[in-house]
Amino acid sequence: MTHERDTHDLNPQDALASIQAARSRVVQSADYPVGYDIAYGGVCALLVAGQGMPGPWSFIVLPIALGGLALMITWWRKRVGWWVNGYSPRRARWVAFGLAAVFLALIGLSLYGKYVGPWWLFIVSGAIGWIAAAFAGRLWMRVWRKEMSEEIG
């Protein structure tokens, strides 16, 4: 069986092809339901909107959001058997950086609403954060898939 050989007889072309074949199996396993995007959007919405929420809510939503994120990571790892940090891949990380920039702006918007007004700005920032996160999650996956199929090393 080819896989069980322990010799060094792979020629360079075959070796490079086997690398891409192995990676394509990982990429193919990265299939997940829309519910994951919705949940991720919800977690991110809580994180950005929470900063502008009144009273104790700004403290209450933070552990809820972080707990939700931890549950999502656990679910993902169990489902596909691997994990990749959003900031690890060379090209896809730029989607994560872009989303982080959007989040910072939205947190600023939430805080502006809290201290300057109007009070409901956190709802707007949360809604935008929800959509941005759900969209960016899929975009990140698309860029990562392309990156994995094009880069060997």
């Binding site: 896989h3 050989r5 060094h8 070796a15 691997w82 994990w83 990749v84």
Partner: protein
């Protein structure tokens, strides 16, 4: 920066090359997932992992989940560097890139 091409016999064996290919594309992966992806038996997979671990290329960790202990694998910094250098050498030998 492009890595210096270096042929690495530890990595080049077919099974280990595919293990490194998978681990280089993720942060970590479960033993069973990698074993299934490269279609080898538990014992062959264990042998490859042991060789990579002894070379300092792979880190092995045991995590308990739902009452079961699962083994997770990740490439070390040395492993990532060695894999990149090996792929650079393969690319050079194949005359591509």
């Amino acid at each position: 920066m492009n890595p210096t091409p270096i042929f690495d016999p530890v990595i080049h064996a077919p099974g280990r090359l595919q293990i490194c290919a998978i681990l280089s594309s993720v942060d970590d992966a479960e033993f069973a997932m990698v074993r299934d992806a490269i279609a080898v038996s538990d014992s062959v997979m264990s042998k490859h992992v042991k060789q990579l671990e002894e070379a300092g290329y792979v880190a092995v960790s045991k995590l308990a989940a739902a009452g079961r202990q699962r083994t997770w694998l990740s490439l070390t910094a040395a492993g990532r560097a060695a894999f990149k250098a090996h792929v650079a050498e393969l690319t050079r030998l194949a005359g591509v890139g």
